[in-house]
Homo-oligomer: 343 residues x 2
């Protein structure tokens, strides 16, 4: 299945070519990408995680051959492959240690298995780091020398890039920005990993939905309660729609998530001090063009201005991501390009 | 004045030679350092900040000439000079923006003024970053490829080193680890910069002394109250002495600071994921050999084990610094060496 993306014809592509693979709990996405970060080919298929990691690894390797065939080139014309997966990992060994989204995939040497199946060398990264690299290479971060990328979805993924350095950490746990601590109250919420008071427990889509569910269960009326009563599924989009329809409670829930996010960003500014902070994922609503998306990011900026040192508070760019769901495959291809250039 | 330090004779020093200068609110320290990080010469004199920045810059430039004369070499035999000063700074321009410890030194181009006075090129850094580099080069961090250094003194200074990268940030506010947010309660303490709930407000010597003062003012008896009643000045050492003498309240104050420090370190582990976290400054008490120093660092490690991902919790080294007050001059010389090697 090829989505309706703008693809560059092979004849116009700038070599070398790379493949990027983004492994998610639901789908495998893969793209053939040129040296300028433009998509030449795209392919997606279900992860079917229950069939086990070796089965998925074989199919991921197969997508590389498929992308080559689709473009009319040999697989060996693809210089390197980049692969981003959920963590935690041991990146040096190319292993998924375990993953909430991929039950039973423990200690699986995914990098080498995919490499064996596609016959090309594979650069391996945390999925959020790969997406961060995509935004850094050709997305919202393309004008900056450093950035922190936060993807606000089921969890809060993070990617930190400082110049040419993707901050992977000494134990493959760098850039796990969803797990910085923002609330030390004994009553603080916990994330799915059980970390009390971390950013993920407050600024993920899951956290917003949980807070909305509590609010609705607590009684009261309004667009949010009405939508839930009518059987609609609680999502960040539904909460945003209720907020846009004038539900003050829905708006408050969204702005509270933004406030926590701002607190987390201040901590990142006082450690990394990136040129830009890029926000992606479901919690970006309709972006700055959308009233709720604008209110959300403005609340983030307000918290940052209130808490950060004056210079970074004034100069750090905080903006939404621009690559949407393709950041992961493009970024994985970008990391493949880095690996290729480094020999 | 030359302190009783072990100095390497010039004939045994490994060239090139560098000078490191550590500017503090009270003293200027300067050292002649060889390519292996060994001290060849040392000099210290009062900062006399009230005489203004140009006066101090002239004297800092003078110390470089003095160190050369002392060693019997020409100033031009010193390859580069490194300078660490309190911030915040504009590191690219070599400017102190303002400093709590150096009142009135606003927007002073200290790097270039020191360079003008000594006639050598000057590498410029945050003082805590310089100290971090000292520990990384030849101190407690010498076996690691990355580290976070926290100096727990009047404030909480930080230095983040990832391989060859000293994380200075896009706006010279990187590694300001004292200003990561650990407490978001409305009643949270503030640091001298007015940041509410940051690490500095809980884990600096100043914070411990403030908490001890409140505890003593609140009434009760014990070694801590007795010492204060006898006119002794409240310092971390005094609180530690009371704790060692069996004052449970003093011990609790120290362990509470350690708990906050552990929380901050978890956040740093989930962003930087350094190989090692190195603790320096007054709040290290007598180090691991001392019962209170050991209890303090064990409480930090306990909080980290309770809150961090299992792999970094198990593998990240948390230890005390080894260079003491010389970390700043040695590290500044190390940064001079880096600048020299980079051409």
């Amino acid at each position: 299945m090829t989505a309706a993306r703008t693809l560059v014809p092979l004849a116009e592509a700038t070599p070398p070519l790379y493949a990027g693979i983004d492994l998610g709990g639901t789908n495998i996405k893969a793209a053939l990408v040129d040296d300028c970060g433009r998509l030449v080919g795209f392919h997606t298929e279900p992860t079917e995680a229950a069939r086990g990691p070796e089965d998925s690894a074989a199919r991921m390797g197969g997508t590389v051959h498929h992308l080559a065939r689709q473009a009319g080139i040999a697989t060996t014309d693809i210089a390197w492959v980049g692969l981003g997966t959920p963590g935690p990992h041991d990146l040096r060994r190319g292993v998924i240690l375990r993953s909430g989204n991929l039950p039973g995939w423990d200690d699986f040497p995914i990098r080498d298995r995919v490499a064996a199946h596609c016959g090309r060398p594979v650069a391996y990264a945390n999925d959020a780091n790969a997406a961060a690299y995509g935004e850094f290479w050709i997305g919202s971060g393309r004008e900056y020398a450093s950035l922190v990328f936060l993807t606000l979805g089921t969890g809060v993924g993070g990617g930190i890039i400082i110049g040419d350095t993707n901050v992977e950490g000494a134990h493959s746990h760098g850039s796990e920005c969803g797990h910085i601590i923002v609330d030390t109250a004994p009553t603080a919420r916990t994330c799915p990993f059980g970390h009390r008071g971390d950013l993920e427990a407050y600024a993920s889509a899951t956290a917003l939905v949980a807070a909305a569910r509590e609010a609705v269960a607590g009684g009261g009326t309004g667009p949010l309660a009405d939508a839930v009563a009518a059987g609609e599924t609680l999502t960040p989009i539904l909460v945003a729609r209720a907020a846009a329809a004038g539900d003050p409670r829905a708006r408050e829930l969204i702005l509270d998530a933004a406030r926590w996010l701002g607190i987390g960003i201040v901590t990142l500014m006082h450690t990394i001090d990136p040129a830009a902070v890029i926000l992606g994922g479901a919690m970006t609503f309709g972006g700055e063009a959308d009233p709720i998306g604008r209110a959300f990011i403005e609340r983030v900026r307000e918290e940052v201005r209130a808490r950060a040192f004056p210079v970074p508070a004034a100069e750090t760019v905080i903006r939404y991501a621009s690559l949407g769901g393709d950041a992961g495959v493009v970024g994985a291809a970008g990391l493949a390009r880095l690996a290729h250039r480094r020999g």
